[in-house]
């Protein structure tokens, strides 16, 4: 290839390469796979209102989102669990609340469990369904992966400190996958975001209390965790516009329809330093 053609090609490539697009016209939101579908929804509507702005939503899990926010790989990190003490340097905004539902296959005879029973099943003490129903079959326990905010919330709210989830449990890396497995395996049990429960699985009542928005707001259903948006320092520019949209009446209504609980209602969880009104 003639030298000048080659250098032209390289120059062109370099121009394209260095264009990050118009400055600041795109930002990344990464983290919790529980928050992700809702973030995608928010981003979709937000981008319709602001053509030319690109919001990139990635998954990876709550811990990944926290890491990404800290390192700058993402401008907004998403988490579905409380921050640990060594993560508190980040600016956190509650954008919604979400219940945790214990789910089984729709054909399962089980309808209710006590918190202690849930703990024993996921801890590996109760191994066979015959302890609770007439079915004589091993329980297929499904859990999320270690870095998941959903798992972190489940660990904190259900298992309690020091009690591990059984190492024989099947591990999957998103709520959707857990739901798929439980929807297909009549002998399985798992936990997912309440907002993701559909007709394909059945959410159990916990100590007789149904998992619903009212019961969460009235504190009768104990399994609830915050959905957090995390930024390094106060948000500015398009990132702030996005967060404002998410917290607006329209943004909140958008996800309430999908099963989330709006951020404003109910008291904030302990130690969550709300720094964005």
């Amino acid at each position: 290839m003639r030298p000048w053609k080659l250098s032209l090609a390289i120059l062109l490539f370099a121009c394209v390469a260095c264009s990050r697009g118009p400055a600041g016209r795109q930002f990344t939101v990464a983290g919790s796979t529980s928050v992700q579908p809702f973030a995608d929804r928010w981003a979709e509507v937000f981008m319709q209102k602001h053509p030319g702005l690109a919001v990139n939503v990635q998954g990876g899990g709550s811990s990944a989102g926290i890491q990404a926010a800290k390192s700058g790989a993402a401008q907004i990190g998403m988490s579905s669990r409380e921050l640990k003490p060594d993560e508190m340097e980040l600016n956190q905004i509650i954008v919604a609340r979400d219940g945790l539902a214990i789910i089984v296959h729709p054909d399962s005879p089980l309808r209710n469990l006590t918190l202690q029973e849930v703990r024993s099943i996921f801890g590996g003490e109760i191994r066979n369904w015959k302890v609770l129903t007439r079915l004589d079959r091993e329980i297929d326990v499904v859990t999320r992966e270690e870095g998941s905010g959903t798992r972190g919330a489940f660990q904190e709210l259900v298992m309690g400190k020091g009690k591990r989830i059984s190492k024989r449990a099947i591990v999957q890396d998103s709520n959707g996958t857990v739901r798929e497995i439980v929807a297909n395996d009549p002998y399985s049990i798992g936990y997912i975001s309440l907002g993701l429960v559909s007709g394909r699985v059945r959410a159990l009542t916990l100590d007789g209390v149904k998992a619903s928005e009212e019961n969460i707001l009235s504190k009768e259903y104990p399994l609830v965790r915050p959905f957090l948006f995390l930024t390094k320092g106060p948000a500015a520019g398009p990132v702030k516009d996005f967060i404002d949209f998410v917290l607006s009446a329209e943004g909140q209504e958008l996800v309430r329809k999908e099963g989330l609980i709006p951020a404003g209602e109910g008291s904030p969880p302990a130690g969550s330093g709300r720094s964005h009104e």
């Binding site: 811990s63 297929d140 870095g147 591990r164 190492k167 024989r168 099947i170 999957q172 497995i181 399985s188």
Partner: protein
Amino acid sequence: MNKLDRDERLVKLALLVLAFSAVAVLAVITVFIFGEGTPIMFKHGLGKFLFGSDWYPSEKSFGLLPMIVGSLFVTFGALVIGVPLGLACAIFLTEFSSRRLRRLLKPVIELLAGIPSVVYGFIGVVILVPFIRTTLGGPGLSVLAASIILGIMILPTIISISIDSLQAVPRSYREGSIALGTTRWQTTRMVMIPAARSGIIASIVLGMGRAIGETMAVIMVAGNAVSIPGSPLSPVRTLTSNIALEMGYASGEHRQALFATGVILFIIIMVLNTIATVTSRRARGKRKTAA
């Protein structure tokens, strides 16, 4: 030295730099992975790292044994399925089929190699896993499911390399055997296969390497439980799945532990690749002296 010579030297140097790209990339990857992964292998004790059966990163417990056993079981299972099937196809295509049939079937089998691993995994999830669960028990996500899917995925490797080594056996071998009055099968069994043995072994070893390194399909059908599988129907986690599941968020020691998992994987695959190269080189050498 005139301008022409100088230009030629420049070109040669430029090409040498390009040629080193492969080596450079390999070196960077190796240095990176080993650099990040080796310290932690010794920090808590190499023995505990390799043979500890407790993988619980949030409590700083990094025992890789369940994953090592998992990878071994799944790979072994894949070979049990892939080797007989693959060898049979290779033998059939070289010794027992007409040229037309071979020309028809060879591209078909190479198509198997082109199907993305996620598609294999998906078929495993929607067809194989429920089948195992309803007919054999267990959650379906199991060593068995992973072995079957991996066995199918390594078929193209085993088949194409075995075909090459069978075709490379000198014709005189086959003709001499037939001249002695043997049947085609006797020729194949007693002459061709032993003659192609090194190449066939190389293909199996390479298939092993591919099976150990596969990630996506395995994550979808194996269950990923962090325990040593007690039976083929138990869920299992491999070294590759371990990295993929926890990579996105691991930090500090946890991240180093995942790199260390990568180191172990790396070493196993390098060893397998070297064995394969040595055996196939020996095959070529033998043939040169024999013919």
